[in-house]
Symmetry: C2
Subunit: 231 residues, 2 copies
DNA sequence: TTAATATTGTGAAATTGTTCACAAGTTTGA
DNA sequence: TCAAACTTGTGAACAATTTCACAATATTAA
Protein backbone atom coordinates (compact mmCIF):
# COMPACT_ATOMS: atom_id res chain seq x y z
CA UNK A 1 0.00 0.00 0.00
CA UNK A 2 2.79 2.31 0.90
CA UNK A 3 4.19 2.07 -2.60
CA UNK A 4 1.04 3.30 -4.27
CA UNK A 5 2.00 6.94 -4.24
CA UNK A 6 5.68 6.56 -4.85
CA UNK A 7 5.21 4.27 -7.80
CA UNK A 8 2.64 6.43 -9.51
CA UNK A 9 4.38 6.18 -12.86
CA UNK A 10 5.20 2.51 -12.68
CA UNK A 11 3.03 -0.55 -13.04
CA UNK A 12 2.03 -1.49 -9.58
CA UNK A 13 0.90 -4.68 -7.98
CA UNK A 14 -2.77 -5.04 -7.32
CA UNK A 15 -4.34 -4.98 -3.92
CA UNK A 16 -5.63 -8.49 -4.61
CA UNK A 17 -2.09 -9.74 -4.97
CA UNK A 18 -0.76 -7.75 -2.04
CA UNK A 19 -3.51 -8.91 0.27
CA UNK A 20 -3.35 -12.56 -0.72
CA UNK A 21 -5.99 -12.53 -3.41
CA UNK A 22 -9.10 -12.54 -1.27
CA UNK A 23 -11.86 -11.14 -3.39
CA UNK A 24 -15.39 -11.55 -2.16
CA UNK A 25 -18.12 -13.18 -4.15
CA UNK A 26 -20.04 -9.90 -4.11
CA UNK A 27 -17.11 -8.07 -5.62
CA UNK A 28 -17.00 -10.52 -8.53
CA UNK A 29 -20.74 -10.12 -9.05
CA UNK A 30 -20.36 -6.34 -9.13
CA UNK A 31 -17.45 -6.63 -11.55
CA UNK A 32 -19.92 -8.20 -13.99
CA UNK A 33 -22.21 -5.25 -13.39
CA UNK A 34 -19.42 -2.76 -14.05
CA UNK A 35 -18.54 -4.63 -17.22
CA UNK A 36 -22.05 -4.26 -18.53
CA UNK A 37 -22.19 -0.61 -17.47
CA UNK A 38 -18.91 0.13 -19.21
CA UNK A 39 -20.14 -1.53 -22.39
CA UNK A 40 -23.09 0.84 -22.38
CA UNK A 41 -20.98 3.91 -21.71
CA UNK A 42 -18.54 2.90 -24.45
CA UNK A 43 -21.39 2.51 -26.93
CA UNK A 44 -22.63 5.96 -25.96
CA UNK A 45 -19.22 7.44 -26.72
CA UNK A 46 -17.93 8.20 -23.21
CA UNK A 47 -14.15 8.27 -22.96
CA UNK A 48 -13.94 8.45 -19.17
CA UNK A 49 -16.39 7.68 -16.41
CA UNK A 50 -16.47 8.52 -12.72
CA UNK A 51 -17.14 6.03 -9.93
CA UNK A 52 -20.26 8.07 -9.25
CA UNK A 53 -21.74 7.45 -12.69
CA UNK A 54 -20.64 3.82 -12.72
CA UNK A 55 -22.36 3.36 -9.36
CA UNK A 56 -25.67 4.57 -10.76
CA UNK A 57 -25.75 1.59 -13.12
CA UNK A 58 -26.27 -0.77 -10.20
CA UNK A 59 -27.66 0.51 -6.94
CA UNK A 60 -24.21 1.02 -5.53
CA UNK A 61 -22.18 3.76 -3.93
CA UNK A 62 -19.20 5.42 -5.60
CA UNK A 63 -17.03 4.31 -2.67
CA UNK A 64 -17.91 0.71 -3.29
CA UNK A 65 -17.03 0.95 -6.96
CA UNK A 66 -13.65 2.41 -6.09
CA UNK A 67 -13.01 -0.15 -3.38
CA UNK A 68 -13.89 -3.02 -5.68
CA UNK A 69 -11.64 -1.80 -8.45
CA UNK A 70 -8.81 -1.05 -6.05
CA UNK A 71 -8.59 -4.78 -5.28
CA UNK A 72 -7.19 -5.30 -8.74
CA UNK A 73 -5.10 -2.17 -9.18
CA UNK A 74 -5.54 1.53 -9.63
CA UNK A 75 -7.06 2.16 -12.98
CA UNK A 76 -8.37 5.66 -12.57
CA UNK A 77 -7.08 9.19 -12.72
CA UNK A 78 -7.78 11.56 -9.86
CA UNK A 79 -9.94 14.44 -10.89
CA UNK A 80 -11.01 12.71 -14.07
CA UNK A 81 -12.28 9.19 -13.48
CA UNK A 82 -11.66 5.88 -15.24
CA UNK A 83 -10.85 5.43 -18.95
CA UNK A 84 -13.91 3.54 -20.22
CA UNK A 85 -12.26 1.38 -22.88
CA UNK A 86 -9.25 0.42 -20.81
CA UNK A 87 -11.19 -0.32 -17.66
CA UNK A 88 -13.58 -2.49 -19.65
CA UNK A 89 -10.64 -4.43 -21.03
CA UNK A 90 -9.08 -4.79 -17.58
CA UNK A 91 -12.29 -6.19 -16.16
CA UNK A 92 -12.68 -8.49 -19.17
CA UNK A 93 -9.24 -9.88 -18.39
CA UNK A 94 -10.01 -10.23 -14.68
CA UNK A 95 -13.26 -12.06 -15.44
CA UNK A 96 -11.71 -14.20 -18.15
CA UNK A 97 -13.87 -12.71 -20.90
CA UNK A 98 -10.94 -11.92 -23.20
CA UNK A 99 -10.79 -15.51 -24.40
CA UNK A 100 -13.13 -18.34 -25.34
CA UNK A 101 -14.23 -21.30 -23.23
CA UNK A 102 -15.36 -24.71 -24.40
CA UNK A 103 -18.71 -25.49 -22.90
CA UNK A 104 -20.75 -28.70 -22.83
CA UNK A 105 -24.42 -28.84 -21.93
CA UNK A 106 -26.06 -31.90 -20.41
CA UNK A 107 -29.82 -32.31 -20.76
CA UNK A 108 -31.50 -31.12 -23.95
CA UNK A 109 -34.95 -30.54 -22.47
CA UNK A 110 -36.83 -27.28 -22.10
CA UNK A 111 -34.21 -25.45 -20.13
CA UNK A 112 -31.31 -26.95 -22.05
CA UNK A 113 -32.80 -25.96 -25.42
CA UNK A 114 -33.35 -22.41 -24.25
CA UNK A 115 -29.74 -22.17 -23.11
CA UNK A 116 -28.42 -23.47 -26.44
CA UNK A 117 -30.18 -20.52 -28.10
CA UNK A 118 -29.12 -17.98 -25.50
CA UNK A 119 -27.17 -15.39 -27.48
CA UNK A 120 -25.34 -13.87 -24.53
CA UNK A 121 -23.19 -16.99 -24.14
CA UNK A 122 -21.27 -16.92 -27.45
CA UNK A 123 -21.10 -13.11 -27.21
CA UNK A 124 -18.98 -13.48 -24.09
CA UNK A 125 -16.83 -16.30 -25.36
CA UNK A 126 -18.77 -19.26 -23.98
CA UNK A 127 -19.10 -21.67 -26.90
CA UNK A 128 -21.34 -24.67 -26.50
CA UNK A 129 -19.45 -27.43 -28.29
CA UNK A 130 -21.18 -30.60 -27.12
CA UNK A 131 -24.67 -31.64 -26.02
CA UNK A 132 -25.57 -34.73 -24.02
CA UNK A 133 -28.82 -36.49 -23.28
CA UNK A 134 -30.01 -39.96 -22.27
CA UNK A 135 -32.97 -40.00 -24.64
CA UNK A 136 -32.26 -42.30 -27.61
CA UNK A 137 -34.49 -40.15 -29.81
CA UNK A 138 -32.16 -37.20 -29.32
CA UNK A 139 -28.80 -38.97 -29.30
CA UNK A 140 -26.68 -38.74 -32.48
CA UNK A 141 -28.94 -36.07 -33.91
CA UNK A 142 -28.13 -32.43 -34.39
CA UNK A 143 -29.75 -29.85 -32.17
CA UNK A 144 -29.42 -26.34 -33.58
CA UNK A 145 -26.19 -27.35 -35.27
CA UNK A 146 -24.60 -29.09 -32.30
CA UNK A 147 -24.33 -32.85 -32.06
CA UNK A 148 -26.07 -34.64 -29.18
CA UNK A 149 -24.09 -37.47 -27.57
CA UNK A 150 -25.11 -40.22 -25.20
CA UNK A 151 -24.63 -39.13 -21.62
CA UNK A 152 -22.94 -42.53 -21.09
CA UNK A 153 -19.93 -41.18 -23.01
CA UNK A 154 -19.85 -37.94 -20.99
CA UNK A 155 -16.49 -38.28 -19.26
CA UNK A 156 -14.56 -39.46 -22.32
CA UNK A 157 -16.04 -36.82 -24.63
CA UNK A 158 -15.41 -34.00 -22.13
CA UNK A 159 -11.73 -34.94 -21.99
CA UNK A 160 -11.47 -35.48 -25.76
CA UNK A 161 -12.89 -32.03 -26.53
CA UNK A 162 -11.05 -30.24 -23.71
CA UNK A 163 -14.24 -28.89 -22.19
CA UNK A 164 -13.63 -26.17 -19.60
CA UNK A 165 -17.11 -25.79 -18.24
CA UNK A 166 -20.28 -27.86 -18.04
CA UNK A 167 -23.87 -26.64 -17.83
CA UNK A 168 -26.28 -29.04 -16.14
CA UNK A 169 -29.91 -28.85 -17.28
CA UNK A 170 -30.98 -32.31 -16.14
CA UNK A 171 -33.74 -33.32 -13.72
CA UNK A 172 -32.91 -33.02 -10.02
CA UNK A 173 -32.86 -36.80 -9.68
CA UNK A 174 -30.01 -37.17 -12.19
CA UNK A 175 -27.97 -34.15 -11.16
CA UNK A 176 -25.56 -35.74 -8.66
CA UNK A 177 -24.72 -38.74 -10.84
CA UNK A 178 -23.99 -36.55 -13.87
CA UNK A 179 -21.95 -34.20 -11.68
CA UNK A 180 -19.80 -37.09 -10.47
CA UNK A 181 -19.03 -38.00 -14.08
CA UNK A 182 -18.20 -34.40 -14.93
CA UNK A 183 -15.87 -34.15 -11.95
CA UNK A 184 -14.20 -37.46 -12.84
CA UNK A 185 -13.41 -36.00 -16.27
CA UNK A 186 -11.43 -33.23 -14.57
CA UNK A 187 -13.79 -30.36 -15.34
CA UNK A 188 -13.44 -27.64 -12.68
CA UNK A 189 -16.49 -25.47 -13.34
CA UNK A 190 -20.15 -26.38 -13.31
CA UNK A 191 -23.27 -24.27 -13.79
CA UNK A 192 -26.25 -26.12 -12.37
CA UNK A 193 -29.89 -25.48 -13.29
CA UNK A 194 -31.30 -28.53 -11.49
CA UNK A 195 -33.31 -27.43 -8.45
CA UNK A 196 -31.30 -29.51 -6.00
CA UNK A 197 -28.19 -29.37 -3.87
CA UNK A 198 -25.11 -30.96 -5.46
CA UNK A 199 -21.86 -31.97 -3.79
CA UNK A 200 -18.54 -31.25 -5.52
CA UNK A 201 -14.90 -31.42 -4.32
CA UNK A 202 -13.34 -28.20 -3.04
CA UNK A 203 -11.33 -27.58 -6.20
CA UNK A 204 -14.44 -27.55 -8.38
CA UNK A 205 -16.44 -24.34 -8.64
CA UNK A 206 -20.17 -24.84 -8.72
CA UNK A 207 -22.77 -22.18 -9.29
CA UNK A 208 -26.45 -22.89 -9.19
CA UNK A 209 -29.34 -21.05 -10.76
CA UNK A 210 -32.51 -22.00 -8.95
CA UNK A 211 -35.46 -20.22 -10.42
CA UNK A 212 -37.92 -21.53 -7.84
CA UNK A 213 -35.69 -20.05 -5.15
CA UNK A 214 -35.84 -16.66 -6.84
CA UNK A 215 -39.62 -16.84 -6.95
CA UNK A 216 -39.67 -17.81 -3.27
CA UNK A 217 -37.67 -14.70 -2.52
CA UNK A 218 -40.24 -12.60 -4.35
CA UNK A 219 -43.13 -14.26 -2.60
CA UNK A 220 -41.39 -13.64 0.72
CA UNK A 221 -41.20 -9.96 -0.18
CA UNK A 222 -44.88 -9.93 -1.13
CA UNK A 223 -45.94 -11.60 2.10
CA UNK A 224 -43.71 -9.42 4.22
CA UNK A 225 -44.23 -6.11 2.47
CA UNK A 226 -44.77 -3.29 4.86
CA UNK A 227 -41.98 -4.54 7.06
CA UNK A 228 -38.80 -2.54 6.81
CA UNK A 229 -36.78 -5.27 5.15
CA UNK A 230 -33.29 -4.38 4.21
CA UNK A 231 -33.27 -5.72 0.69
CA UNK B 1 -46.13 -12.96 10.67
CA UNK B 2 -49.70 -12.56 11.81
CA UNK B 3 -49.72 -15.99 13.39
CA UNK B 4 -46.71 -15.00 15.46
CA UNK B 5 -48.79 -12.43 17.24
CA UNK B 6 -51.45 -14.94 18.03
CA UNK B 7 -48.89 -17.24 19.60
CA UNK B 8 -47.54 -14.51 21.77
CA UNK B 9 -49.54 -15.81 24.73
CA UNK B 10 -47.42 -18.87 25.29
CA UNK B 11 -44.43 -18.28 23.06
CA UNK B 12 -42.13 -15.36 22.75
CA UNK B 13 -42.51 -12.93 19.88
CA UNK B 14 -40.12 -13.49 17.05
CA UNK B 15 -36.74 -11.87 16.89
CA UNK B 16 -37.72 -10.41 13.53
CA UNK B 17 -40.55 -8.51 15.14
CA UNK B 18 -38.51 -7.49 18.15
CA UNK B 19 -35.64 -6.23 16.05
CA UNK B 20 -37.79 -4.37 13.57
CA UNK B 21 -38.08 -7.09 10.95
CA UNK B 22 -34.63 -6.91 9.49
CA UNK B 23 -33.94 -10.20 7.83
CA UNK B 24 -30.96 -10.42 5.54
CA UNK B 25 -31.16 -11.55 1.96
CA UNK B 26 -28.89 -14.48 2.83
CA UNK B 27 -31.29 -15.62 5.53
CA UNK B 28 -34.18 -15.72 3.06
CA UNK B 29 -32.05 -17.67 0.61
CA UNK B 30 -31.17 -20.18 3.32
CA UNK B 31 -34.83 -20.46 4.32
CA UNK B 32 -35.48 -21.80 0.81
CA UNK B 33 -32.69 -24.28 1.39
CA UNK B 34 -34.16 -25.41 4.70
CA UNK B 35 -37.53 -25.79 3.07
CA UNK B 36 -36.12 -28.14 0.47
CA UNK B 37 -34.16 -30.05 3.09
CA UNK B 38 -37.22 -30.44 5.27
CA UNK B 39 -39.22 -31.74 2.30
CA UNK B 40 -36.61 -34.45 1.85
CA UNK B 41 -36.54 -35.37 5.52
CA UNK B 42 -40.32 -35.51 5.62
CA UNK B 43 -40.39 -37.81 2.62
CA UNK B 44 -37.86 -40.06 4.36
CA UNK B 45 -40.10 -40.31 7.39
CA UNK B 46 -38.21 -38.17 9.92
CA UNK B 47 -40.40 -36.67 12.63
CA UNK B 48 -37.80 -34.35 14.12
CA UNK B 49 -34.54 -32.96 12.84
CA UNK B 50 -31.60 -31.26 14.55
CA UNK B 51 -29.99 -28.05 13.37
CA UNK B 52 -26.89 -30.17 12.81
CA UNK B 53 -28.58 -32.43 10.27
CA UNK B 54 -30.40 -29.55 8.62
CA UNK B 55 -27.09 -27.75 8.26
CA UNK B 56 -25.58 -30.66 6.32
CA UNK B 57 -28.10 -30.12 3.51
CA UNK B 58 -26.46 -26.85 2.55
CA UNK B 59 -22.88 -26.19 3.52
CA UNK B 60 -23.90 -24.41 6.68
CA UNK B 61 -23.22 -24.56 10.38
CA UNK B 62 -25.78 -25.65 12.98
CA UNK B 63 -25.43 -22.27 14.67
CA UNK B 64 -26.42 -20.52 11.50
CA UNK B 65 -29.51 -22.64 11.07
CA UNK B 66 -30.59 -21.89 14.62
CA UNK B 67 -29.86 -18.18 14.25
CA UNK B 68 -31.80 -17.96 11.01
CA UNK B 69 -34.84 -19.72 12.45
CA UNK B 70 -34.70 -17.70 15.67
CA UNK B 71 -35.45 -14.57 13.64
CA UNK B 72 -38.95 -15.87 13.12
CA UNK B 73 -39.65 -17.53 16.45
CA UNK B 74 -38.57 -20.52 18.47
CA UNK B 75 -39.77 -23.60 16.73
CA UNK B 76 -37.56 -26.27 18.25
CA UNK B 77 -37.43 -28.36 21.38
CA UNK B 78 -34.22 -28.45 23.39
CA UNK B 79 -32.71 -31.87 23.49
CA UNK B 80 -34.80 -33.05 20.55
CA UNK B 81 -34.62 -30.69 17.60
CA UNK B 82 -37.28 -29.30 15.28
CA UNK B 83 -40.52 -31.01 14.32
CA UNK B 84 -40.09 -31.63 10.58
CA UNK B 85 -43.67 -31.21 9.45
CA UNK B 86 -44.43 -28.14 11.53
CA UNK B 87 -41.18 -26.37 10.75
CA UNK B 88 -41.73 -26.99 7.06
CA UNK B 89 -45.18 -25.44 7.35
CA UNK B 90 -43.84 -22.48 9.31
CA UNK B 91 -41.22 -21.79 6.66
CA UNK B 92 -43.83 -22.22 3.92
CA UNK B 93 -45.89 -19.54 5.62
CA UNK B 94 -42.88 -17.26 6.08
CA UNK B 95 -41.92 -17.64 2.41
CA UNK B 96 -45.51 -17.31 1.23
CA UNK B 97 -45.62 -20.85 -0.17
CA UNK B 98 -48.82 -21.80 1.63
CA UNK B 99 -50.92 -20.07 -0.98
CA UNK B 100 -50.98 -19.55 -4.72
CA UNK B 101 -49.78 -16.57 -6.71
CA UNK B 102 -51.02 -15.34 -10.06
CA UNK B 103 -48.09 -15.01 -12.41
CA UNK B 104 -47.82 -13.48 -15.86
CA UNK B 105 -44.93 -14.07 -18.20
CA UNK B 106 -43.84 -11.55 -20.83
CA UNK B 107 -41.83 -12.78 -23.81
CA UNK B 108 -42.64 -16.19 -25.24
CA UNK B 109 -39.24 -16.85 -26.80
CA UNK B 110 -36.73 -19.53 -25.92
CA UNK B 111 -36.36 -18.64 -22.27
CA UNK B 112 -40.04 -17.83 -21.82
CA UNK B 113 -41.15 -21.15 -23.32
CA UNK B 114 -38.79 -23.07 -21.05
CA UNK B 115 -40.18 -21.27 -18.02
CA UNK B 116 -43.78 -22.03 -18.99
CA UNK B 117 -42.87 -25.73 -18.87
CA UNK B 118 -40.87 -25.48 -15.64
CA UNK B 119 -42.63 -27.85 -13.26
CA UNK B 120 -41.22 -26.39 -10.04
CA UNK B 121 -43.32 -23.26 -10.45
CA UNK B 122 -46.84 -24.73 -10.13
CA UNK B 123 -45.53 -27.13 -7.47
CA UNK B 124 -44.79 -24.16 -5.25
CA UNK B 125 -47.98 -22.28 -5.99
CA UNK B 126 -46.76 -20.03 -8.81
CA UNK B 127 -49.39 -20.34 -11.52
CA UNK B 128 -48.70 -18.78 -14.86
CA UNK B 129 -52.06 -17.36 -15.90
CA UNK B 130 -51.18 -15.03 -18.77
CA UNK B 131 -48.57 -14.82 -21.50
CA UNK B 132 -47.61 -11.72 -23.47
CA UNK B 133 -45.63 -11.16 -26.63
CA UNK B 134 -45.31 -8.52 -29.35
CA UNK B 135 -45.12 -11.02 -32.20
CA UNK B 136 -48.42 -11.06 -34.15
CA UNK B 137 -47.84 -14.72 -35.03
CA UNK B 138 -47.99 -15.64 -31.35
CA UNK B 139 -50.69 -13.26 -30.14
CA UNK B 140 -54.17 -14.70 -29.55
CA UNK B 141 -52.88 -18.24 -29.87
CA UNK B 142 -52.53 -20.79 -27.11
CA UNK B 143 -49.10 -21.71 -25.88
CA UNK B 144 -49.12 -24.91 -23.82
CA UNK B 145 -52.67 -24.18 -22.77
CA UNK B 146 -52.17 -20.54 -21.84
CA UNK B 147 -53.41 -17.70 -24.00
CA UNK B 148 -50.90 -15.23 -25.43
CA UNK B 149 -51.95 -11.57 -25.34
CA UNK B 150 -50.55 -8.52 -27.07
CA UNK B 151 -48.00 -6.82 -24.88
CA UNK B 152 -49.80 -3.57 -25.72
CA UNK B 153 -52.59 -4.67 -23.37
CA UNK B 154 -50.17 -5.60 -20.59
CA UNK B 155 -51.18 -3.10 -17.91
CA UNK B 156 -54.93 -3.57 -18.31
CA UNK B 157 -54.76 -7.38 -18.39
CA UNK B 158 -52.48 -7.51 -15.35
CA UNK B 159 -55.00 -5.50 -13.35
CA UNK B 160 -57.98 -7.42 -14.71
CA UNK B 161 -56.51 -10.79 -13.72
CA UNK B 162 -55.09 -9.60 -10.39
CA UNK B 163 -51.55 -10.66 -11.25
CA UNK B 164 -49.21 -10.70 -8.24
CA UNK B 165 -45.94 -11.29 -9.98
CA UNK B 166 -44.48 -10.84 -13.45
CA UNK B 167 -41.68 -12.79 -15.09
CA UNK B 168 -39.76 -10.89 -17.76
CA UNK B 169 -38.23 -12.97 -20.52
CA UNK B 170 -37.91 -10.25 -23.12
CA UNK B 171 -34.81 -8.96 -24.94
CA UNK B 172 -32.64 -6.53 -22.97
CA UNK B 173 -33.68 -3.68 -25.26
CA UNK B 174 -37.36 -4.04 -24.31
CA UNK B 175 -36.92 -4.77 -20.61
CA UNK B 176 -37.21 -1.27 -19.17
CA UNK B 177 -40.27 -0.28 -21.21
CA UNK B 178 -42.12 -3.46 -20.27
CA UNK B 179 -41.10 -3.00 -16.64
CA UNK B 180 -42.55 0.51 -16.61
CA UNK B 181 -45.87 -0.90 -17.84
CA UNK B 182 -45.80 -3.62 -15.21
CA UNK B 183 -45.10 -1.09 -12.47
CA UNK B 184 -47.86 1.19 -13.71
CA UNK B 185 -50.29 -1.72 -13.32
CA UNK B 186 -49.42 -1.88 -9.63
CA UNK B 187 -47.50 -5.17 -9.66
CA UNK B 188 -44.97 -5.24 -6.82
CA UNK B 189 -42.77 -8.20 -7.76
CA UNK B 190 -40.75 -8.82 -10.89
CA UNK B 191 -38.44 -11.66 -11.83
CA UNK B 192 -36.20 -10.51 -14.65
CA UNK B 193 -34.34 -12.77 -17.06
CA UNK B 194 -33.21 -10.02 -19.43
CA UNK B 195 -29.45 -9.52 -19.16
CA UNK B 196 -29.68 -5.85 -18.31
CA UNK B 197 -30.12 -3.51 -15.38
CA UNK B 198 -33.68 -2.38 -14.76
CA UNK B 199 -34.90 0.52 -12.63
CA UNK B 200 -37.95 0.06 -10.39
CA UNK B 201 -39.45 2.19 -7.58
CA UNK B 202 -38.46 1.31 -4.02
CA UNK B 203 -41.73 -0.44 -3.23
CA UNK B 204 -41.29 -2.90 -6.09
CA UNK B 205 -39.15 -5.98 -5.48
CA UNK B 206 -37.03 -6.97 -8.42
CA UNK B 207 -34.90 -10.07 -8.70
CA UNK B 208 -32.75 -10.78 -11.69
CA UNK B 209 -31.46 -14.05 -13.00
CA UNK B 210 -28.54 -13.33 -15.24
CA UNK B 211 -27.12 -16.49 -16.67
CA UNK B 212 -24.22 -14.76 -18.39
CA UNK B 213 -23.26 -13.31 -15.02
CA UNK B 214 -23.15 -16.78 -13.52
CA UNK B 215 -20.90 -17.96 -16.32
CA UNK B 216 -18.67 -14.93 -15.80
CA UNK B 217 -18.31 -15.93 -12.19
CA UNK B 218 -17.23 -19.40 -13.25
CA UNK B 219 -14.77 -18.06 -15.78
CA UNK B 220 -13.35 -15.77 -13.09
CA UNK B 221 -12.79 -18.82 -10.92
CA UNK B 222 -11.12 -20.65 -13.81
CA UNK B 223 -8.83 -17.74 -14.59
CA UNK B 224 -7.99 -17.11 -10.97
CA UNK B 225 -7.65 -20.66 -9.77
CA UNK B 226 -4.51 -21.03 -7.75
CA UNK B 227 -5.34 -17.88 -5.84
CA UNK B 228 -6.71 -18.50 -2.38
CA UNK B 229 -10.14 -17.16 -3.14
CA UNK B 230 -12.65 -17.32 -0.37
CA UNK B 231 -15.54 -18.79 -2.32
C1' DT C 1 0.29 30.85 -12.20
C1' DT C 2 -3.35 30.33 -8.97
C1' DA C 3 -7.80 29.10 -7.34
C1' DA C 4 -11.79 26.47 -7.77
C1' DT C 5 -13.51 22.08 -8.81
C1' DA C 6 -13.52 17.16 -9.58
C1' DT C 7 -12.37 12.61 -8.43
C1' DT C 8 -9.38 8.76 -7.04
C1' DG C 9 -7.38 5.57 -3.58
C1' DT C 10 -7.43 4.12 0.95
C1' DG C 11 -6.96 3.93 6.12
C1' DA C 12 -10.36 4.01 9.72
C1' DA C 13 -15.02 3.70 11.44
C1' DA C 14 -19.40 1.79 11.17
C1' DT C 15 -22.30 -1.73 10.02
C1' DT C 16 -23.65 -6.25 9.01
C1' DG C 17 -23.24 -11.12 9.21
C1' DT C 18 -21.28 -15.48 11.27
C1' DT C 19 -19.53 -18.38 14.74
C1' DC C 20 -18.74 -19.49 19.52
C1' DA C 21 -19.95 -20.96 23.90
C1' DC C 22 -22.93 -22.04 27.34
C1' DA C 23 -27.22 -21.81 30.30
C1' DA C 24 -31.54 -23.91 30.03
C1' DG C 25 -34.54 -27.32 28.91
C1' DT C 26 -35.67 -32.33 27.17
C1' DT C 27 -35.01 -37.14 26.68
C1' DT C 28 -33.22 -41.63 27.71
C1' DG C 29 -31.86 -45.41 30.49
C1' DA C 30 -30.95 -47.37 34.85
C1' DT D 1 -35.55 -40.59 40.94
C1' DC D 2 -31.00 -39.28 39.00
C1' DA D 3 -27.32 -38.72 35.81
C1' DA D 4 -25.70 -38.63 31.25
C1' DA D 5 -26.45 -37.21 26.69
C1' DC D 6 -28.59 -34.02 23.50
C1' DT D 7 -29.98 -29.87 21.46
C1' DT D 8 -32.04 -25.26 21.35
C1' DG D 9 -31.82 -20.23 21.76
C1' DT D 10 -29.03 -16.40 22.33
C1' DG D 11 -25.64 -12.84 24.09
C1' DA D 12 -21.10 -11.92 23.04
C1' DA D 13 -16.95 -12.35 20.33
C1' DC D 14 -15.31 -12.37 15.99
C1' DA D 15 -15.06 -11.66 10.96
C1' DA D 16 -16.34 -9.66 6.76
C1' DT D 17 -18.13 -5.96 4.18
C1' DT D 18 -19.52 -1.36 3.40
C1' DT D 19 -19.31 3.40 4.08
C1' DC D 20 -16.96 7.52 5.54
C1' DA D 21 -13.80 11.04 5.11
C1' DC D 22 -9.98 13.15 3.40
C1' DA D 23 -5.17 13.70 1.48
C1' DA D 24 -3.39 13.49 -3.06
C1' DT D 25 -3.66 14.62 -7.60
C1' DA D 26 -5.63 16.19 -12.17
C1' DT D 27 -8.36 19.51 -14.79
C1' DT D 28 -10.25 23.86 -16.01
C1' DA D 29 -10.62 28.70 -16.33
C1' DA D 30 -8.97 33.16 -15.74
Amino acid sequence: MRSMVRQAHHKKESHARLTGGRVSESTVRRLSLYYRGLSTFEREGYKTISSKDLAKEGRLTPAQVRKDLSFFGSFGTRGLGYPVKELKEKIARILGLNRTWNVALVGVGNVGSALVSYKEFPKQGFNIKLLFDNDQRKINKNHKGIQVFDVKDLASKLKEHKIDLVILAVPASAAQAVTDDVVSAGVKSILNFAPTHIKVPDDVTLRSVNMAMELEHLSFSLVNKGYPLKF
